[in-house]
């Protein structure tokens, strides 16, 4: 039966290809070559993404509709996991924490990176510039987990180097990791310390790409320091700013290692992030369905925030 069907299917295709006048759009050999090449070039990436991201995502979407503790077979839950998630104070707090973290960490990261990039872009010997660039990028090559272990020592209230240094300038010891008010600050500082180098490099590159003549013209027009940067540099840098913000936000919304090692989410829930909740409810409390529901919500949140940024960017980003 299969055999008889094959000839049936093939001919129409063959005629379509061999009878050019009937084809609505005629593809030249080159266009077909391009398509073939595109298919071949994209195949590794797309197949990989489908198998290792799309399928698992669909998997967790399905999982979010079940109760599953790994041990017994999954039980249908419908929307119960989502209802549970929306009434669980820990989950809600973790979303709030993550958003607060995102706003503060990304803002601080961009501010530091931009200031330093502008400063490094000023006149100085080549070698010095290269030393600074390397120094600021350096924390990125370290493992977030290991460096957080180190930071835990440095931020210790009684014996840490940070409070000792603050003491030198007359600031009383801060209970960095053990007070609800300052724990988030410590987590943000550690995170930004490690991450700002990336935005920094983006900005350095962006500044390099601004034609010198524009700056010179601005200077000749009498634009000075800060004003020049606000009115001339920033708009020209806006595409870079957009990339830095988008990538920064995506990463910040997935923060895990720093709070996990530094504070374990505490004190209370004050530094518990969404990804921590996902990890805890899945792997510690065996609630894989609920964890998947939180994961799906986080994914939606990240998409929404990213889309929002692109929408806003239409007003603020200027392409040369």
């Amino acid at each position: 039966m299969t055999n008889t069907q094959v000839p049936d299917v093939r001919p129409p295709r063959a005629t379509a290809a061999s009878a050019p006048p009937e084809a609505p759009v005629r593809l030249s050999a080159r266009d077909r070559g391009t398509r073939l090449l595109a298919t071949l070039f994209l195949a590794p990436t797309i197949v990989g993404i489908v198998v290792f991201t799309v399928v698992p995502i669909v998997g967790s979407l399905v999982l979010s509709l079940f109760h599953w503790n790994v041990i017994d077979s999954p039980r249908w839950a419908g929307a119960a996991n989502y209802r549970e998630v929306f009434t669980d104070s820990t989950v809600l707090v973790s979303f709030r924490n993550t958003l607060v973290f995102m706003v503060l960490a990304v803002a601080l990261q961009l501010l530091i990176a931009l200031t330093l990039a502008l400063a490094v872009n000023g006149r100085m010997p080549m070698w010095l510039r290269s030393v600074f660039r390397s120094a600021f990028f350096f924390p990125l090559v370290l493992s977030a987990a290991s460096i957080s272990v180190v930071m835990k020592y440095l931020f210790n209230q009684d014996f840490g180097v940070v409070n000792w240094a603050l003491g030198l300038i007359g600031i009383a010891p801060v209970p960095w990791l053990t007070s609800e008010n300052s724990a988030m600050a410590a987590v943000i500082l550690v995170y930004v310390w490690q991450q700002f180098g990336f935005s920094f490099l983006l900005f350095v590159g962006g500044l390099n790409n601004i034609p010198k003549e524009i700056h010179e013209a601005a200077s000749l027009d009498g634009a000075t320091g800060l004003r020049k940067h606000l009115h001339v540099t920033l708009p020209l840098l806006s595409p870079t700013l957009l990339v830095a913000t988008v990538v920064g936000v995506i990463n910040a919304l997935q923060v895990f290692e720093q709070p996990y090692v530094l504070t374990d989410g505490g004190p209370g829930d004050s530094t518990r992030t969404v990804v921590m909740v996902i990890y805890e409810s899945a792997f510690e409390q065996l609630r894989f369905g609920e964890a998947s529901a939180v994961g799906v919500l986080l994914f939606v949140l990240i998409m929404a925030v990213t889309a929002l940024q692109f929408r806003l960017s239409r007003r603020f980003v200027h392409y040369q």
Binding site: N69, V70, I71, V149, K152, Y153, N156, Q157, D158, F159, P175, L177, T178, S179, E180, V261, T263, D264, G265, G266, P267, G268, D269, Y279, E280, A282, F283, E284, Q285, L286, F288
Partner: protein, 469 residues
């Protein structure tokens, strides 16, 4: 110039070809490494045992593997030392394997997970224990019934304990001397303890905190709850277990034993619980005690060994740790937890749990017995990284070189205080622990927050305990 340009390009190209070839060759040569085909005992029907990595170095694994081979040459054994920073990391990994249907046969499980594994994943060892009773008599005679009871769930035994740690008080000698304080007596009280902290604070100045502790289920707030005669969850004993007590323990030691603990109704708002928190809050208020810090307590060894802390609760595992950190035998010592309303202390124990999914249960039982043998444990616990479950292994010899002087305290915590019990770890332990740590952090993070935080803790605990794991 053009020439050199061309040569450079050609060179680059050949360089690239060379690198490509080397990469291919390297990949081909390491193919067995990449696919794991070079690992002995893989997918060949070996008995697979998962242990907690940091506790089991390469040396320990060799000891276990070779020792077991001598006794049971016919059983192939593979030990996976799972690298994880704590028990929850460890369980995360085991669970993923269970979810994927590639679970090990045996898992090393501490008190934290005993009931969870027993209820959902484990196999009771009763039938084998009864069968091999003659062989095991020596083991039970050497292991305190409290430890054995902590491995029971609803009348059945799920693990043979091989190690345990009770929360005793470690004291830094140097700090004691500075404060001109003597070593506390075995029956010291909570007030003696407070006085000692005050003396230490007076004599040691800034960048010094007398009492340091880590916010965790084991050794955090719980020992204070026990000392104050209460618990986080109402505690009772399951019926049953007589088969074991009657078979292995003399009547004096059988007294009051049952079929394992039941931790049920949360009682975080109980007056005594609140009193315990108030006490800790007052210590923090007076700068006698650190605020609760989460995590695995890594700071602790460092700050204690350098004299920045005077007193801290820890178990036998600390003797080895302090030695590694460079503390001399005479520079620290250990005493029981101080008495409050009671001097009941808390411990956590560990052993191997047999998984229901195992297809080699008889072989697994042989390993459980092997792992609890005295000679095995002697080789395994050479560095005092924990307290052996076998009383006969705690000897002056063992502690001569590393201290502490009062090493007897470790086991006497069980022998002299028969009501000393395990940390509360019902099957819902993961959530209970999280709720406890979370609200303890809040309760003690500022003044007057104890009451409200405990009420929230109670509410969350109730929710956690209602949940079917």
């Amino acid at each position: 110039m053009t020439d050199s340009h061309v040569t450079r390009r050609t060179l680059l190209r050949y360089g690239a070809y060379g690198a490509g070839a080397a990469a291919l060759a390297g990949t081909a040569a390491s193919w067995d490494r990449l696919t794991g085909a070079d690992i002995p005992g893989r997918d060949d029907g070996s008995l697979v045992v998962a242990t907690l990595g940091p506790a089991y170095g390469p040396e320990a694994i060799r000891t276990l593997t070779e020792g077991f081979k001598k006794v049971h040459p016919d059983i192939k054994l593979r030990i996976n030392a799972v690298q994880a920073t704590d028990w929850s990391d460890f369980f995360a990994k085991i669970l993923t394997q269970i979810a994927a249907g590639t679970a090990p046969d045996l898992v090393y499980v501490a008190t934290e997970g005993v009931q969870l594994f027993a209820q959902r994943l484990g196999v009771a060892l009763d039938k084998w224990v009864k069968r091999d009773a003659a062989e095991l008599r020596e083991y039970f005679a050497d292991v305190h019934p409290s430890l054995v009871e902590s491995m029971m769930y609803e009348g059945s035994l799920y693990q043979l304990p091989v190690e345990f740690n009770a929360a005793d008080m470690y004291l830094n000698d140097q700090v004691l001397k500075r404060a001109a304080a003597g070593f506390p007596a075995a029956d010291w009280t909570r007030d003696d303890f407070t006085e000692l902290l005050r003396d230490m604070k007076k004599s040691s100045g800034s960048q010094f905190t007398p009492y340091f502790w880590t916010n965790r289920l084991w050794g955090g707030v719980v020992p204070w709850l026990f000392a104050n005669g209460t618990n986080l969850l109402a505690e009772s004993k399951a019926p049953g277990g007589a088969w074991l007590w009657d078979g292995f323990y003399p009547s004096a030691e059988r007294q009051g034993r049952g079929g394992g603990f039941r931790w049920t109704t949360p009682q975080a708002t109980d007056a005594r619980v609140e009193e315990s928190y108030d006490y800790l809050a007052s210590l923090i208020q007076e700068d006698l005690c650190t605020r609760p810090e989460g995590g695995n307590g890594q700071n602790l060894i460092g700050v204690f060994s350098t004299g920045r802390v005077g007193v801290t609760p820890a178990g036998g595992f600390w003797a080895g740790g302090l030695h590694l950190a460079g503390m001399e035998p005479g520079s620290f010592d250990v005493q029981y937890f101080p008495r409050w309303r009671t001097q009941r202390m808390q411990f956590g124990a560990a052993g191997y749990a047999l998984l229901r999914t195992s297809k080699m249960q008889d072989e697994a039982w042989e390993f459980i017995k092997f792992a609890a043998r005295r000679d095995t444990l002697m080789r395994l616990f050479e560095t005092n990284q924990t307290t052996p479950a076998r009383r006969s292994m705690l000897t002056a010899d063992r502690y001569r070189e590393i201290g502490p002087r009062h090493w007897q305290v470790f086991y006497d915590t069980l022998d002299k205080f028969p009501d000393t019990g395990p940390i509360p770890a019902p099957p819902q332990v993961a959530e209970v622990e999280q709720v406890l740590l979370k609200h303890t952090g809040t309760a003690l993070s500022s003044r007057r927050s104890v009451g409200p935080a405990l009420r929230r803790m109670q509410r969350d605990l109730e929710k956690a305990m209602e949940r079917d794991v």
